[in-house]
């Protein structure tokens, strides 16, 4: 009976690991899609502004929108890291998670400040990043 209980526990843990691994893959794919779409849209808009509109003042707004995609993609990557560390985290994984959190926080802070500065200089009417 004790052996059956141990086998059941290991099967349950294996299923949990597989479920979490699948979720991590889904969330990471979401992050990659957001980041790639953000880069592609940003590049297309940079090219449009540079080649068609020829107005250098609009570059700042495009750059800040690209920054929003960056922060959103990083949020998804952070969620994937949190999920990964939910099952038997190692000290190395926790350290990497802390580093990604620090990068995300710094990027978010800098982008928020840049948006406020751009708004005051260019009069771009969008709210700051939270």
């Amino acid at each position: 009976l004790q052996r059956i209980t141990v086998v059941d526990a290991s099967v349950g843990e294996g299923l949990l690991r597989e479920g979490v691994f699948l979720l991590v893959r889904v969330v990471e794919a979401g992050a990659a899609a957001i980041l790639f779409c953000g880069a592609a849209v940003g590049f297309a808009r940079f090219a449009w502004v540079a080649l068609v509109r020829r107005d250098p003042a609009e570059f700042a707004a495009v750059r800040l929108d690209l920054g929003r995609f960056l922060v959103l993609g990083l949020e998804f990557q952070l969620a994937a890291d949190l999920l990964r560390t939910a099952v038997a985290p190692s000290f190395d994984e926790i350290g990497k998670l802390a580093a990604v959190v620090a990068i995300r926080t710094a990027l978010n802070f800098f982008l928020g400040r840049e948006i406020r500065e751009e708004r005051s200089e260019v009069g771009h009417g969008e709210g700051p990043m939270r």
């Binding site: 940003g42 990557q77 990497k96 580093a99």
Partner: protein, 81 residues
């Protein structure tokens, strides 16, 4: 080469091309440099799930720091005219 590596290379190339285009039209090297660094930061973030090593995390942190420094110089220059 997997799809993610190809995407990283493509975004890096977009960074070089976009940066050059912006610098040429704006006639300011710094504006182009910030644009290039933004797209390179995106590329390095794309690479993270595939290669979550300390060196990859260090690359992202370095690019974010460099981007911040160049953006600060850009803002200061614009304020000074």
């Amino acid at each position: 080469m997997n799809a993610l590596t190809e995407a990283v290379l493509l975004v890096s190339a977009m960074g070089v091309l976009g940066g050059a285009l912006v610098a040429f039209v704006a006639r300011r090297v710094h504006t182009g440099l910030v644009t290039m660094l933004d797209l390179w930061t995106t590329a390095s973030l794309l690479r993270l799930p595939d290669d979550a090593s300390w060196s990859a995390i260090g690359t992202v942190a370095g690019l974010v720091a460099l981007r911040k420094v160049v953006a600060s110089v850009l803002v200061r220059r614009r304020r000074n005219g």
